[in-house]
């Protein structure tokens, strides 16, 4: 072993030593950062075109549901029966169908707890400790009691954790539909804060519950041209891939419950009181402020009733990808009308008294802002309402309805942070209606397509809601800690499917910031907004993939953005651009040192060559050849003569006559390619900012030099003066190197 070790050691030393002065014939592949993404992108086909639009044979499946469920409040049980009608619009024969049984995440034999790594924490909250290690496991999985075809014949099915496969006697042919019935029930879980997307919260004080019900029915998986059956099991955290379809849902609850759900309420007169109906009418015409359908006093009274008699709510929803509802006798209920590009959309909020005074003040207004900003950027919100439901420690989205956190202290006071957090989450969750509820990307595969795009729009909506709103994701400065972080811990945005738990997974701030930079700095708002709208409209009510987005943005703007997508989405490179060197030149009539050397070498004198124009460097000996106070035409009679001989008096007025020629060498220690934005400040205090397109780096990724003629001395050159590019190191951004007063010194001076 020792011999081998020594042999290897000496070999490697020899190898290293031998490497130093030898030519390598080792070839390389094209690494240019501007190369097109041909190899990364899927080949365009009849389903998805090269321009990023749905192809002429694009298809998507449809899944319609007719559901009846009953909430048993005493036992926290939900019982349901449904008819699923599945339409196979693909050109393929389907031998079996896959369904998702998401409540099985909470089944006794669920994989979810099994795949979690365990470690001993420093400390535990008593509630988490008990639920994690001591309490008996809650069995919240689906109990499927019937799977039958519509003529009553049982169907063969197999359940594997959260997946169910129905084997068909005859394959489902292209363009054919199949209907079948399923009956089920399950125990509703008490929602574990931060853990569950659905469940109930128990309020000890008034002995009541608030329910958020979602993923409550067996539903179809997605079958498409990109993945075939999309059937990655639901473990509780990766989100969903779902089909569009029409829903017809009946929900039976205690008679005194207030409920909101996806879809249009069909029997309002049966479930609203006369007073509620009147107030509702008023609300549909109230564009300036919300109208209370159920007030806080009424809700508090209602908390005492504990009705056991029931009522049934009937909803219909067209072209939605899911259905969810929230119900409780504790709810306060308000709504207002919003003008969304000429269409009346209702903005709705439901919340128990624990959400006040915060919710009454802000929730519906935040919903309104979201509908308007997002519609401006994409398309007119196509549904008739958007609902914000108050629940503790959650943020989760469904078509037309979402759950949001934001609870004041028991005494009713709340900090700025609680207020801003609540407004932010409402905007974010309502925003999800657009991405992925309507522009329906596969969340499990490409989480950033809905999260990143949504976070970007959230930032815009927050700034429109309130100037200076403290947005965490979106501002360029905020992404710097992430992008300058440990390279071992971050992964490219586009590597989702292959990575393990790492920082990169959660950094939806990066795609959001990338889009912000694309809009403000690379494309400009007009080009970006038009392209973004084109993408949204092309894929509205369809299923796009990342390529469809990348391609459409280029297609609609006429810009080649492959370098941008590559850098920001396919690598973990960061931006670091600086000023390496600045040389000041004058123009001389007499030959400079280099030229004199050439003349001498060839045994020539000045008379032997044609008159030329000679740059001389400020700090060289040649500077004595020029008069630094004169312009270049004053210093160089050659130049002066040429100008007079070749331009008319009129034309000469347009000819510039600077004094100095600056050679500015910029370098790029960071990997990312970005436009070179430079602010030049002159001795008289004036300044100008030049924006060189990112293509300046196309031939040399490390360095580029620019010649700046100037009539006034340049006193300062600053790269990225407005901090637009997420430059992680600004110590090299200024010439001359500035002694910047650090934040520390500033702070200390103030003390």
């Amino acid at each position: 072993m020792k011999k081998t070790f020594l042999a290897i050691l000496s070999l490697s030393m020899f190898h290293t030593w031998a490497q130093q002065d030898t030519i390598s014939h080792k070839g390389h592949i094209n690494q240019n950062k501007f190369r097109q993404l041909y190899q990364e992108f899927a080949t365009p086909n009849v389903y998805r075109t090269a321009s990023g639009a749905p192809g002429h044979e694009y298809y998507q499946q449809q899944a319609d549901y007719k559901i009846k469920v009953q909430l048993d409040e005493a036992n926290d049980k939900l019982t349901g029966t449904e008819t699923i009608t599945y339409t196979n619009n693909s050109p393929d024969n389907l031998e079996f169908l896959w369904l998702q049984l998401d409540q099985n995440k909470r089944a006794k034999d669920s994989d979810t707890p099994l795949i979690e790594g365990d470690k001993i924490d420093t400390y535990y909250r008593p509630s988490s400790f008990v639920s994690k290690y001591l309490a008996p496991k809650f069995d919240g999985g689906f109990n499927i009691t019937k799977v039958e075809s519509t003529n009553g014949n049982p169907l063969n099915y197999t359940i594997n954790k959260t997946m169910m496969r129905i084997d068909l006697k005859q394959p489902l042919a292209p363009n054919k539909k199949l209907s079948f019935n399923i009956d089920w029930w399950y125990k509703i879980n008490e929602q574990i804060p931060g853990d569950d997307r659905s469940g109930y919260e128990y309020f000890k004080e008034d002995d009541n519950k608030s329910y958020i019900i979602a993923q409550f029915y067996p539903r179809m998986c997605v079958y498409n041209d990109v993945e075939g059956w999309q059937n990655t099991p639901f473990l509780g955290d990766g989100e969903f891939a779902l089909n569009f379809g029409n829903y017809d849902v009946e929900i039976t609850t205690p008679k005194d419950h207030i409920l909101e759900a996806t879809g249009k309420l069909q029997n309002r007169k049966e479930v609203f009181t006369k007073t509620q109906l009147e107030r509702y009418q008023k609300a549909t015409e109230s564009y300036t402020k919300p109208v209370l359908i159920v007030t806080q006093e009424e809700a508090i009274e209602n908390e005492k009733t504990k009705e056991t008699a029931t009522k049934t709510w009937k909803f219909k929803a067209q072209n939605v990808r899911d259905f969810a509802f929230a119900t409780s006798r504790k709810f306060i209920y308000d709504m207002m009308a919003v003008d969304v590009q000429g269409k009346n959309v209702m903005a709705v909020s439901i919340y128990p008294k624990e959400g006040n005074p915060l919710w009454e003040e802000y929730s519906t207004k935040a919903v309104k802002q979201t509908l308007q900003t997002y519609s401006d950027m994409t398309f007119q919100y196509p549904y008739h309402k958007a609902v914000s439901v108050h629940f503790r420690q959650i943020g989760m989205e469904y078509p037309m309805i979402c759950w949001n956190f934001g609870r004041p202290k028991p005494d009713g006071t709340y900090s700025d942070r609680v207020r801003n957090g609540m407004i932010g989450v409402i905007i974010h969750e309502v925003g999800h209606n657009f991405f992925p509820m309507i522009v329906n990307s596969d969340e499990r595969q490409w989480g950033w397509m809905d999260e990143g795009l949504n976070s970007f729009l959230e930032y815009l909506a927050e700034q429109e809601f309130e100037e200076g709103f403290p947005s965490r994701r979106g501002p360029v400065e905020n992404i710097i800690p992430y992008m300058s972080g440990d390279q071992n811990e971050i992964v490219p945005i586009m590597s989702m499917a292959d990575n393990v738990i790492q920082l990169g997974n959660n950094a939806y701030g990066k795609p959001a910031t990338a889009l912000n930079i694309l809009r403000e700095t690379i494309m400009g708002q007009e080009l970006f907004d038009h392209a973004f709208r084109t993408y949204s409209n092309r894929w509205k009510f369809k299923h796009p993939t990342p390529e469809d987005f990348f391609r459409t943005m280029e297609d609609a703007s006429g810009m080649d953005l492959d370098w941008f997508w590559r850098g920001w989405f396919y690598t973990t490179d960061a931006v670091d651009i600086g000023v390496k060197e600045v040389n000041k030149f004058f123009i001389s009539q007499k030959p400079n040192k280099e030229m004199r050397a050439i003349l001498q070498e060839r045994n020539l004198s000045e008379k032997d060559i044609i008159p030329l124009v000679y740059p001389v460097k400020e700090d060289s000996e040649d500077v004595t050849l020029v008069d630094a106070s004169k312009t270049i035409s004053e210093n160089s009679t050659t130049l002066r003569n040429f100008i007079f001989d070749h331009f008319t008096e009129e034309e000469r007025k347009e000819i510039k006559d600077p004094k100095y020629f600056y050679e500015v060498i910029f370098n790029k220690p960071g990997g990312l390619v970005m436009p070179l934005i430079v602010k030049f400040t002159y001795e008289d205090g004036t300044s100008e900012t030049l924006r060189y397109p990112a293509q300046v780096w196309r031939k040399n990724d490390q360095e580029v030099s620019k010649i700046i003629p100037a009539s006034k001395k340049i006193t300062k050159i600053e790269v990225d003066p407005n901090k637009e590019t997420a430059d992680i190191n600004i110590s090299n951004n200024t010439w001359p190197k500035e002694a910047v007063v650090s934040k520390f010194d500033q702070f200390k001076q103030q003390q």
């Binding site: 994989d111 795949i115 979690e116 931060g194 853990d195 990655t232 099991p233 473990l235 509780g236 955290d237 990766g238 989100e239 420690q393 959650i394 943020g395 989760m396 989205e397 956190f405 900090s415 700025d416 609680v418 957090g421 932010g424 989450v425 974010h428 969750e429 999800h432 989480g447 999260e451 200076g468 403290p470 947005s471 965490r472 994701r473 501002p475 905020n478 710097i480 800690p481 992430y482 300058s484 972080g485 440990d486 811990e489 989702m496 499917a497 292959d498 990575n499 393990v500 738990i501 920082l503 997974n505 959660n506 950094a507 110590s731 650090s742 934040k743 520390f744 702070f747 200390k748 003390q751």
Partner: protein, 171 residues
């Protein structure tokens, strides 16, 4: 799909539940070793949300405004930082004094601390485990500057200590 890939996809789908939790957790600490003033000037940039979470999750208090902490909240923070940040210069641990904090815009907050430098720094041992108790994926990036040289290190839950050298010949 082979088991390994399935495993990775399973793990990959363990994103945080609430969409709001899709945050990355990172901080940037700058330590300027000012040999003239004989001070180690420390500034830590954090996200405001994360600092609030620290107060709420670990200490079960909800400050109204970070800029205006109550006396007890202030001493909680002081003590916390004291245990979470260690700095040794030339193998001698130096006491760190908490100076204060400042809220910036867009959800950023800056914490300032300082320590005394006795001699010319050559070897820096440091640890910064701030927020690692709240977020297992917290990465604390530290930039240590001495004259014109900056040396940096990333500290995480698996790399708790940093060691940096400043070669005096390089100055």
């Amino acid at each position: 799909m082979n088991k390994a890939k399935l495993f990775f996809i399973l793990i990959a789908s363990i994103l945080c539940l609430s969409n709001i939790e899709h945050e990355y957790h990172a901080s940037i600490t700058t330590i300027e070793l000012d040999t003239e003033e004989r001070l180690a000037k420390i500034s830590i940039q954090l996200f405001t949300d994360d600092l609030y979470n620290l107060f709420e999750k670990r200490f079960e208090v909800s400050p109204d405004k970070l800029n205006n902490l109550s006396k007890s909240e202030n001493s909680i923070l002081k003590e916390y930082l004291n245990t979470k940040i260690q700095l040794s210069i030339n193998r001698k641990p130096i006491p760190i004094t908490y100076l204060g904090l400042e809220e910036g815009k867009n959800n950023l907050v800056y914490i300032y601390l300082e320590g005394q430098i006795q001699r010319k720094p050559k070897r820096i041992d440091l640890s910064n485990t701030v927020l690692q108790d709240i977020y297992s994926d917290q990465i604390n990036t530290i930039h240590v500057k001495l004259n014109n040289v900056t040396n940096s290190v990333h500290l995480t839950s698996t790399k708790l200590k940093g060691l940096l050298f400043f070669n005096s010949e390089e100055e």
